[in-house]
Amino acid sequence: MRSMRLGLALAAVGSVLLTACGGANNAGGATSEADVSGTLRAANWGGNPTENALVKKYEADFMTKYPKIKVTQEEIPTNFEDKIKTEMSANNEPDAMYVSTALMNFAAPAGRLLDLGPLMSKWGVSADEFIPTLMTPWQLNGKQYALPKDFGDLVLFYNKSQFSAAGLATPASWDDIKTDAKALTKGGVKGLSLPADAARFDAFLFGYGGQVLSSDKTKAVFNDQKAQDALTFYSSFQLQDKSSDLPDKLGATWPGDAFGKQKAAMVIEGGWLIPYMKDTYPSVSYGSIKLPKFPVKESSLLFTNGWGCSAKTKNQDACMLFVKYMTGKVVQQQVLQSGFALPSRKDLGSDPAITANPDVKNLFDSATFATAWTFGPHESKINDAQNAALQSVLLGKSDVKTALDKAVADANSAISGG
């Protein structure tokens, strides 16, 4: 009798606590945007001062639009994911944060990111507003853990004056690129600079029909015949034709640097090259083409970042409104004009900043067939293994098959050892 009464009392207290918690999570159940209030800590990668200042400005604009929500910017200049991971393990992470694919890979499976799905429908955000290939990196088990804030992808940039000096037309196929690269190679200048970097090579890998991971993502498979063909082709420029070289052999730190110094007439890079060339090598005249179709399909790589929320945030509605604003049209139009990255929204595809600039248009259009460059929880070890294979082939230390077999073994040992 007594124990039953005690049980009832406990149940009553429990239910009160539950309702209290539920209430807090919904910020008092606000149904209109103007009623949502709260304080948000918002973390962004602050390694680039200009980008950091823009984020600060967008956050100030947000607070003007939603005066009841206060946003504190937490800028993390370097090792962004390490810092967030440490904060998460101490249960002290910010409410809103940049979600890189690397962050997504460790935080979402551990349940540390908020599923934005229900909040998107509550606050009128539709997945259809975004380019579909940019939504998938943030999806796991049917849940949406972040919204893409912008993206970059790969196209082929070529040096117009070097092409016309050699009497060459704009290349249209990989055969053209191969012949042109040979014709452009003379003295200290190479036709092309392909780095030992999986973030470039994988465009070839996918274009040849290869994959990095098996479809259930439990095994590395980038050593099959397709992958071997892709790497044989990728390395043939440097090893057989001598028409390509690693950036550091050309006295440059990265391919874009070699392109700016006119030591390489072609490079495969992304939109970041455009402001870089404008600031550092304004006199170089260049153009771009989408990567030509590879033997199996058209291919390019997508690099994207999103905004997401911590699963532990006390102000879910405020955080969703913040994500909505930061990935919304107003902010992304400004991102586009700043030249940092391309907008992830379909409705900006017809923006004059895109349509009037053929290079930006090539980049934006490549998103339709590009693959997001992300490989799950063991991504960094997998990429280390891929890069090691590329390095040993391009440095002439190993043949294609041996290098890829070893890399796949290394990647698989990381996947199974974890």
């Binding site: 090792n79 994911e81 390490d82 991971k85 440490t86 998460m88 393990s89 890979n105 460790f106 935080a107 499976p109 551990a110 540390r112 690693l246 550091d248 052999k249 006295g251 440059a252 730190t253 929880p377 063991h378 960094s380 070890k381 890069n387 090691a388 390095q391 040993s392 440095l395 230390k397 290394d410 040992s413 990381a414 050892g417 974890g418």
Partner: protein, 314 residues
Amino acid sequence: MAVSVAPKAPAATAKVSRRQKRGGMAIAERRAGLLFVTPYLIYFLILQLAAIIFAIWVSFHHYDLLALDNPFVGLRNYARLTVNQDFLIAMRNTTEYAVVVVILQTVFALLLAVLLDSKIKGRNFFRSTWYTPSIASSVVISMIFLYVYHPTGLLNSILGLVGIHTTEAYLQSTAWALPAIMFLAIWTTAPTFMLMFLAALQDIPKEVYEAAAVDGASAVRKLFSITIPLLRPVIFLVVSLGIIGCFQVFDQVFIMTHGGPLKATLTVAFLIYQNIFGDTGAVGVACAEALVLGIVIFALTLISRRVIDTRIEY
């Protein structure tokens, strides 16, 4: 206890009461001593001892910073180290690095100290300029050396002046990257150890040298028969500090090469960092690596003590 008992024992002999008094003071002193070390003791217990014990515990688990469930795996993390290619490569690189750096920096520091101890002109100027690299933080030095080692950087420019034209990218070369970091480490740390040798050199009695001079010993003979044997305790200190520092090398690798190219500069400390932050569920492996590294350092320090720090006989 003894303090409160003492006044109630008036019949005690003078000898006993003196001893009690002395005992009382010792306790007070001990208490004061304890009070003085308390701040460090708290720091040590919480941030070091507790952390080490936690690391040992973690090393027996499949552990991830964000996972709720971290299952016990026994000795699996340790067993896998013997077949873990990364760990074996890192151990080899670190050992190679430690052997070269410890030997060269000790010899170099001793030579600098002996030079500065002799009565050369501008001694004070050399003392302060040679010591400068040790003042700057290793992070700053690493950033500066990124420019020195750049294909079109300072080193290649200087080589160009003497007729060697090269655009070698030292930090991107499997052959040069580790030696480049070794050179940087020697250049930075040798002056610190030079100071220790200098201080020890001042302590060697002048009479010993005078006696040797009377016997007609040459300068080289004096160096090998007097200076170096008498410096043994300091040489031991320098070598063991060198071993500890070298096996923990991290900052230079983190800033300059990230373990590349082709793992040529992958060190154990950097691998531990990579396993904790770059991978998922490998914190247990990282802790096992850290403990093995700790044991290796401890063992090597003991061995170097056996070999170097023998009793001095005048």
